[in-house]
């Protein structure tokens, strides 16, 4: 199937909107809201079963382990919890991890969207290859990623740089393992987006920037923010690619997951769980903030 026929197919699936951009952008969301209210009041037996299975699955795989982490973290009472978190070394590691993950996510929002745009809208040689290569950071064991990055940006770098054992190395490793998220969440949405809407906007006098800001961006916002959330969460938990690359220097390049490993090696599970629970809370806050941003941007439409 060629790329262009994909777009045609997408256009056929969605009925052509009767009027301008504004009504179109509002349409699907209204329908979605309608469906949700309906299903909340009456569950058919099949959907009840589906809900039950999903919840059970989710509980076994996610909710129960997460609860176990929190229980473990609170095992020694508040004082043990506080001791673990008042260690300046742990705080330094947490600060570095969160700050770098925020920075990396911001870069990914711009670059990921740009790469998705290029992959969907532009025709060029090697496009198919790029499509496949994008996913490699997902497939590569992270320790291998660390080795690759070390030979590329380390002391024997062919680029003539030496970023091994510096904070730049942490940034690069996070960037490498999180690259695909936003590309892969934005790409399908961009594929479904209709050219007519942009043309309509243009015919109504909008320049390209306005069209992007008021027409395209609001449609992409939910995809970008969910990709950003994934990318952030992946970054704060990264370990494998850093063991070789960052040097794990305390107060300098040591990240939170290395602190957790150290606590486990020292048989201090409460401490490890306390740090992990902080990461969980940070991730939760970031997910909520991103969701709020997404709603705000979508409201432009």
């Amino acid at each position: 199937m060629t790329p262009s026929s994909g777009t045609v197919e997408a256009q056929q699936l969605v009925p052509t909107p009767p009027a301008g951009a504004a009504t179109n952008a509002g349409g699907p969301r209204d329908r979605h809201r309608l469906r949700r209210t309906k299903s909340a009041t009456s569950l058919t037996p099949v959907s009840a079963l589906g809900l039950g299975v999903s919840l059970m699955w989710f509980s076994l795989l996610v909710l129960i382990p997460l609860t176990a982490v929190l229980v473990q973290a609170s095992a020694g009472g508040w004082s043990a919890y506080w001791d673990a978190l008042s260690s300046p070394q742990t705080l330094a590691a947490l600060k570095l991890t969160v700050a770098t993950a925020v920075l990396v996510t911001a870069v990914n929002v711009v670059m990921g969207t740009a790469i998705a745009w290029v992959l969907v809208r532009d025709q060029f040689r090697g496009k198919q290859l790029l499509e496949v290569v994008i996913d490699i950071p997902f497939a590569l064991p992270t320790i291998v990623a660390g080795l690759v990055l070390l030979s590329l940006y380390g002391p024997s770098s062919p680029l003539g740089v030496n970023w091994a054992n510096t904070r730049v190395a942490v940034f690069l490793a996070f960037l490498f393992v999180t690259l695909p998220f936003i590309v892969r969440t934005v790409q399908p949405v961009l594929l479904e987006l209709e050219h007519e809407v942009e043309e309509a906007a243009a015919s109504l006098g909008a320049n390209q920037l306005t069209t992007f800001r008021l027409v395209i961006l609001p449609s992409l916002a939910p995809a970008i923010t969910s990709g950003a959330a994934l990318s952030f969460c992946r970054a704060i938990s990264e370990y494998g690619s850093l063991v070789l690359l960052s040097g794990n220097l305390p107060y300098s390049t040591e990240v939170a997951s290395v602190r957790i490993m150290s606590s486990i090696e020292g048989d201090k599970l409460t401490e490890a769980a306390a740090v992990a629970s902080i990461l969980l809370v940070v991730a939760l806050i970031v997910i909520v903030v991103l969701d709020l941003i997404s709603r705000r941007v979508a409201r432009y439409a």
Binding site: K127, Q128, V132, L150, S156, L191, G247, Y251, S252, E265
Partner: protein, 346 residues
């Protein structure tokens, strides 16, 4: 590319990855555990990764003895601390071989190993080694001893003592050599502070540290004699120096309480001259005196592979692991405090 095609490509990729993993797993399991016909005993060995080849060679020799006949092995190797925690959490083991005494103590605390596991002639230790200084080929910096490591231009890589228990040997060697040479505790702390000022990287494990060194992250690697010899046996091109004052590394082995009796016979065989010879071939120092020491390729002098350092101290000289961990590595201990001082000044 359309979404459908995209999905198809990724599905195929994912499926082939799964298929490859399954194949690999079956290959591993298939190799280790033939179906148990009459007369065979399956023993489970859980250990740290470095002595795998030595263990396999000893198992082969053990199978030729009357007691070892019909023994088949199921083995699991990994980082020492992780392996020990896995046994506590239910990984089946008859015989364990760890890099640190504490990893066996964890099993004693969990009621899996007898309290008196150290009552044997070697006090529970099955192989020895020593902390060494690895340098680039030809030793361009002219490093001879610990004191040379804190000179300008030296960049040290050593595994992270916080996240890898085995890395603690190295830090303790650097500290204690000052005292062995007549210094005070204050002198030793001062040296260790200077030492950490020269540390360029603290990779996750001993093997990671070797990789980082080979990539050129630093010009000095603190390692273990057996690790250096093994790397040279497999073709790595570097020199190593056995300092005049250094720490003896002692790797424990133990049989679990509910193990098959053959596991005890195996431990006895490991501690026999025939068993120790296999450790020697892989660069470990024997724990049994009079073990014949043949040619060890990879050693500085293959004919005389294990010279005796002027001052070889042990963990017992430092008060044993429990005291050492509390004094050096726990929160507020010597090493975290030095790292706080040096880390912040960088």
């Amino acid at each position: 590319m359309s979404i459908r095609k995209l999905l198809r490509v990724r599905t195929v990729a994912a499926l082939s990855a799964v298929a490859a993993t399954v194949l690999l797993l079956t290959a591993c399991v298939g190799g280790a555990a033939p179906a148990g016909d009459a007369g065979t005993t399956t023993l489970h060995l859980v250990g740290f990764a470095v002595p795998k080849e030595a263990n396999n060679a000893i198992q082969k020799k053990f199978a030729e003895t009357p007691e070892g006949q019909g023994v088949v092995w199921e083995e699991s190797y990994g980082a020492s601390g992780d392996q020990s925690r896995a046994v506590v959490n239910g990984l089946k083991a008859d015989y364990v071989n760890f890099s640190l005494e504490g990893d066996v103590t964890r099993l004693v605390d969990a009621g899996l190993v007898e309290e008196n596991w150290k009552s044997g002639p070697t006090k529970g230790i099955v192989s020895d080694s020593a902390v060494v200084i690895v340098v680039q080929k030809g030793n361009p910096l002219g490093i001879k001893d610990w004191s040379d490591l804190v000179k300008p231009g030296v960049k040290i890589v050593t595994p992270n003592p916080a996240s890898s228990g085995s890395a603690r040997w190295n830090i303790l060697a650097a500290y204690q050599q000052v005292i062995a040479n007549g210094g005070t505790e204050a002198d030793a702390k001062e040296y260790l502070t200077k030492f950490f000022n020269h540390v360029a990287a603290l990779p996750g494990s001993g093997r990671d540290a070797t990789n980082a060194f080979l990539e050129g992250s630093a010009n000095v690697l603190i390692s273990y004699e057996n690790e250096a010899i093994l790397a040279r046996q497999s073709g790595e091109d570097f020199d190593y120096i056995l300092p005049d004052a250094t720490l003896k590394i002692e790797n424990p082995g133990a049989v679990l309480k509910n193990a098959d009796p053959k596991a005890n016979a195996y431990l006895n065989f490991v501690l026999s001259q025939a068993g120790q010879e296999e450790f020697v071939k892989k660069g470990f120092r024997p724990v049994i005196a009079d073990t014949p020491i043949g040619e060890v390729t990879g050693a500085n002098d293959p004919a005389k592979p294990f010279p005796v350092p002027g001052k070889l101290f042990t963990i017992a000289d430092l008060g044993g692991w429990k005291a050492v961990n509390a004094k050096f590595f726990d929160e507020g201990g010597i090493v975290p405090e030095i790292q706080k001082a040096t880390g912040r000044s960088q």
